[in-house]
Symmetry: C2
Subunit: 339 residues, 2 copies
């Protein structure tokens, strides 16, 4: 590992990512074929079991310890009038997570998921991206590294989510910086800005992308200049999960934008990730297309805070329980398909 | 209630169905607006809480006791070579449910759902619909009444599923009998018949519909002539749930065909039902369109046995837990949207 610029550490890490465990994948396929059901009858659930085994790197797959990691940050760009709620709501919602009052808390309780909340210097909003980079390289790399702590203590499935007033603007800026197009294509109502707010969002995006344009060929520069702390931390968490063989469920538009940074660095970097759901934020589906992901659920949710990923974790748990605990044709004495 | 033909009892029951509890619906809407999230941000989950309250007829909605009812029957039409598995598999799978080895058992365990299995005279397959009515009116009405037992003991959410070798042919026959069209539009691979099997299914359908044609203007006649025991029992269970104010999650193609009989009798008869998922069985979406339902999930499942409805029950539980247990803006000290 070089001891040069902090970003070089991230670049080096990506070069050593573990790849798919094809042996576990084959075992999953072989076992699936013996279960008491017609081949393929569990649809996407079958693929989820195989995916979990492949990226956990062992067979059978497990979901005994699923963690929902929610990263919270504040953003200088809210000065541009892009958000429907005051910035103080970020810290208030973190307190709400800690007291068990948010949607994600109830979903975690329903599906027996652990919740970890990471507060990222909420009293120090990042730089306003229309005026300056959101973060210095050092801050960005340190936050990325902090995000890697999400899996400390071990887990076998990680859900990635966020909270941050103004961060659908930041997600749109990342998407625009990474994939081009127009500002209008990438902005949406977020928590519910009106038409004037939407115009301010697009305008802020245009100005931010123009300001940083010459640096946007490097995905990590896009992350630090147009991103934010929770975005950097989510990218770190996703990469750490890959290194430690933990499959990841990516939540909505903002989490997907963070993931997209890794995808642009190496388009196999998200092979251990499933897109949990398609958010109602209009540009989410397009961003999922850009990173080559089909969403598992489409429930019209647009809350963030890992809520969509946590819903999908319930589906994954059911899938893995079917795979691991169903009887086989032989064990149950059920006749298989007529030859 | 008349003491005439048994079907008249069912017709009379439908006339006395309770309607939506709009007071509970309003309470759900009002409470939803106070929860710590942007309005609408939980998407379809919000609608599910309101639906549950509306059809449970009380506020707040509950999911403390969810039952998955699986009805199993055998079909004379398998003599026409329409099924990929031998008829003995119906009883073998019932034993598998009872021993906890099937997919639906694992999904029930994952989401803490109760499972009830109803075995319907498996040693007496119904009449071959290409030759005779599946059931006499008396048998059909008795089986319908037996299905009403699904909610005995009480529950606050009912998932409807089935098992029966040959019953995708029966479902297609019901759909064809109720909604017209061509045999080919309504048949599909079921548990996995090959192309020749598919042709035999379509051919059996055509012959069955031709034989019973003059009786098909009465949905209950369609049910007894082209249906089967588990279909009659599912229709009974859905109506019983309505009478007792229990919302229903309808599983796949076969369960939807049973529900469609009630819809044709009174197109408000399924207002207490949500279509749990869209099956991979090709005609399911079309049948859902006919009864005016949008599926909640689309996971490519096509197993039956209530598995898709049980998956959806996990989603409904999470939705209701969010609705009932989230903090409000006032209780959490979170600032609401800027005016």
């Amino acid at each position: 590992m070089t001891t040069g610029l902090p970003f070089d550490d991230i670049r080096n890490l990506i070069k050593t990512m573990p790849m798919a465990d094809l042996e576990s994948a084959v075992k999953a396929k072989e076992h699936e074929a013996q279960l008491t059901k017609p081949p393929g009858a569990l649809g996407k659930l079958e693929g989820l079991s195989e995916w979990a085994a492949t990226w956990q790197g062992h067979y059978p797959p497990r979901t005994t310890r699923t963690i929902v990691a929610v990263f919270a940050g504040n953003h200088g760009v809210v000065n541009q009038g892009v958000a429907a709620y005051p910035q103080a709501v970020t810290a208030q919602m973190v307190a709400n997570f800690q007291h068990g009052g948010a949607a994600v808390n109830q979903i975690c309780k329903t599906f027996d998921l652990g919740l970890k909340v990471f507060e990222l210097a909420l009293d120090q909003p990042t730089g306003d991206i229309t005026q300056e980079p959101a973060l210095s390289e050092k801050d960005c790399a340190a936050t990325f590294a902090y995000g890697m702590e999400a899996i400390a203590g071990g887990c076998d499935l990680l859900c990635i989510g966020e909270m941050g007033i103004g961060n659908t603007t930041i997600a749109a800026a990342l998407a625009h910086g990474l994939f081009g197009g127009t500002a209008e294509e990438w902005v949406g109502p977020g928590t519910g800005v009106d038409n004037d707010g939407l115009k301010r969002k697009a305008d802020a995006l245009r100005r931010a992308v123009a300001l940083h344009r010459i640096h946007l060929n490097d995905p990590l520069e896009v992350l630090r200049r147009l991103g934010g702390r929770e975005l950097a931390a989510m990218a770190g968490a996703i990469l750490a999960a890959r290194m430690e063989r933990v499959p990841v469920l990516i939540d909505g538009y903002v989490a997907t934008a963070a993931a997209a940074v890794l995808y642009k660095m190496d388009n196999s970097a998200l092979d251990h990730c499933v897109a949990a759901h398609c958010s109602a934020e209009p540009a989410h589906r397009k961003l999922l297309d850009k990173i080559g992901k089909q969403p598992l659920l489409d429930l019209g949710m647009r809350l963030g805070e890992g809520s969509g990923a946590a819903m999908a974790a319930g589906i994954v748990k059911a899938a893995i329980n079917c795979h691991n605990d169903m009887a086989t044709f032989a064990s149950a004495g059920v006749a298989n398909k007529e030859a």
